[in-house]
């Protein structure tokens, strides 16, 4: 019921990446703190025959988008006498997972994370290596599902995600355009659509100040071939040619977007898309499925929404996007018995069988054995094949991401030039990194 409150503010199709959305929902859930327990429904259902867990405690915290709900449901099937199972799937998972795994024994035996959010857990030494559990019980896992750091498996990934091009076939046809391969083509196409009077603000994307905007910069900077840090150190270096070019391209996209773009997170952008106001955008793969439904939109928009691989920028060969995985980790501060129970429950929840269900297979780009890419997955696959880089999994990158999200709006609003903004980002990052002990 409380989940319903969150969903009322957004379509139920979030993914792990959407931080800004969570901010409003976070506050909402604070108000509902009393009913927080409604999230954590203890499983009362009879044990599922196939789940091999015999005893132990399983308690999972993670995001709430459909694919993770599926995994959570699978884990819940392990509940029976002697096996206590709880799942707490909420958009605010990142605000509670560190605290909930710090105690001994930890409240959560596992957190579902992505390549950015695993870092906070590793920084505080809250998750355990999974090598022995994988060797004993991980027979169904493919080698590329194992996320290892320094040779130790720290997480098991079950799905992939990326941002890529989403476009309106009908409008592109009317304007005589083909789906753009580069951002430069997209800008030219956007201008043409605007001049022809087809749409007032033909472009867009999740450019909301904060996490989303920072993510777009990360995409664009990588697309320009930029490196965020001086090799092997936490010393940031983005105030360079690539940084300026990346900012310039963001501004060009913004100039053809709805003027409120700094408030448009993935939900806001999706709403704009569904209202039929946009023709092209760079969007999360996991967000596309709802755009193809006429619910809250029109048949015309839904039927002509199509996707393609991510674009390159500035003559670069690496797509201006990042690759993401979502997967599970297991707490360090719990008994080995509980760790084993949790691992086995996941093995039940993400057994390759689950993707035989057509609905489930469309929920994500599953990394499970036997997964056949659906049509909705071609954008993410194109990103991987095009040589897109994974989002940086570095202990201090979260600090840079926050600094970017806070400082970039000044440039886009024309309050200062690119070099000044980039210098501000570096200064904000340096202050934070010093505080956290990454820099002296």
């Amino acid at each position: 019921m409380t989940v319903g409150f969150g969903l009322a503010l957004r379509p139920p199709t979030g993914e792990d990446l959407m931080k800004t959305v969570t901010k409003s929902i976070f506050a909402a859930s604070l108000m509902l703190a009393g009913s927080q327990f409604a999230y954590m429904t203890p499983a009362l259902a009879d044990g599922h025959a196939k789940c091999a867990v015999e005893s132990g405690r399983i308690s999972i915290v993670g995001n709430e988008f459909p694919a993770i709900q599926t995994v959570g449901k699978g884990v819940m099937e392990c509940a029976k006498d002697g096996v206590e199972v709880k799942t707490n799937l909420t958009a605010d998972h990142q605000k509670i997972n560190v605290a909930g795994m710090t105690g001994n024994p930890a409240e959560y035996t596992s957190a579902i994370v992505a390549n950015s959010s695993i870092v906070a857990l590793m920084n505080d030494d809250l998750i355990r290596p999974l090598d022995d559990l994988v060797a004993k019980f991980g027979g169904n896992l493919k080698p590329n599902q194992l996320v290892s750091v320094n040779g130790k498996v720290m997480a098991v990934a079950f799905m992939a995600n990326a941002q890529h091009l989403v476009f309106r076939k009908d409008i592109l046809e009317k304007a005589g355009l083909t789906p753009p391969k580069t951002y430069e083509e997209m800008i030219a196409g956007g201008k043409k659509i605007k001049e022809m009077g087809l749409l007032e603000n033909p472009l867009g994307g999740p450019y909301a100040a904060g996490w989303n905007l920072a993510q777009e910069f990360v995409n664009m900077y990588i697309g320009h071939g930029g490196e965020f840090y001086k090799a092997g150190s936490a010393e940031v270096s983005i105030n360079n040619e690539q940084g300026v070019a990346a900012l310039d391209m963001l501004k060009q996209v913004a100039s053809l977007s709805n003027p409120d773009y700094l408030t448009h997170d993935s939900n806001g952008t999706s709403a704009e898309w569904k209202a039929g106001n946009m023709a092209m955008m760079n969007m999360w793969g996991s967000r596309v499925e709802p755009l193809k439904s006429a619910d809250g939109s029109t048949e015309e928009v839904a039927a002509s929404t199509d996707i393609a691989g991510p674009m390159t920028v500035g003559g670069g060969s690496i797509p201006a996007t990042t690759l993401w995985w979502d997967g599970f980790t297991i707490s360090k501060n719990i008994s080995d018995e509980d760790a084993e129970a949790t691992f086995k429950a996941y093995m039940h929840a993400i057994r390759p069988d689950i993707i035989k269900d057509e609905e489930v297979s469309k929920q994500a780009v599953w990394l499970l054995d036997g997964y056949q890419p659906t049509d909705a997955a071609k954008g993410v696959f194109a990103a991987a094949q095009g040589g897109a880089k994974p989002y940086p999994m570095l202990p201090y990158h979260g600090l840079l991401h926050s600094a970017l999200g806070a400082e970039l709006p000044d440039y886009l609003q024309g309050k200062e030039d690119a070099a000044k903004t980039l210098a501000d980002v570096e200064a904000a990052y340096n202050a934070a990194a010093k505080e956290q002990g990454f820099l002296n």
């Binding site: 901010k23 750091v149 320094n150 100040a209 773009y261 995985w325 600090l399 926050s402």
Partner: protein
Amino acid sequence: MKHKTFFWFFLPTGLAMLLFIALPIVSVVIQSVYTPHEQVIIEVENCGPFGCTKATTVDNEATAALREAQPLGRFVGLDLYFNRGHLATQEIAASWSSSASIGEFFSDIFNLPFYRALAFTLTYTFVVTPLLIVLGFVIAVAVNNLSTWLKGPVIFFSLLPMIVTPLVGSLILFWMVDSRGVLGAALQYLANDPGLSLKSSTPLTWIMLMVYGVWSSAPFAFVVFYAGLQTLPQDTLESAMIDGATRWQRIRYVVIPHLMPLVTFVALIQLMDNFRVFEPVVGFKAEAHATTLSWIIFNDLGGETRLLSSAATTSVLTIIGIAILLLPVLVRTWRDFNAKT
């Protein structure tokens, strides 16, 4: 009251205050002078679904040893208070010596996160507080003059903005002032400017937030003043009428002086409330145009890597800010109190 009686009477309250007010403040102050240990970073190879990359990670064993030695973290004294995220003394000094004009100096200052937030927080506090007091007073006097059967429903509707949770209220308005929303479209029509967008302009966003602030807090002032109006000395009012005082003169010389202590009370509460303004910034997604001190704390706590010490520092600075802000009101109350005894 005997001292002993007073002691036992006050003990539960005193203990609760110690536990829930004093101790947390002490804890926040301590957290603001300690920061995490210097991180021991090692180069590693990370592998995953997308292949292997060279990366770095925190050496947990080495960090555990550091933690064992100093459980609170590094003592940094007041370093955080003066760093760029807070008072930014170095940046201000550098700007003072390098900027060509006073305007440039101020634009440098308001480019720093703390001062930017402070500027909006103070503007908001000092614009919204008087406006909501005036508006609350006007509503209270108006409602007080209504016929009895109308009073109930009108009071109920006047209280609605306060009943609506701030976050929900601001979200509702957020969609209404959207350029495709009811209010946003109406404004575009009135201004005859189809490109007008409240959310993309800093001054308009500030005005929007302040209007929201007055709207949501005026009912509080209204309720307090309305209660005060019920205790108006009728004798004084009547004698004023016999003396030929006009309606305005009665309000100016009888009603307002009678309500003055309540104005102090409302001002005190609302200054505190408005100084910690937070929900509208989140609800209106206004962070690109307006940030507040509370929002900075929230942002530090909500990032991918949480800046706990930084949040503690901003919290202490906010407490100091509230203390400074309330000082005149408190001094005034103290004087009134002394004058009466």
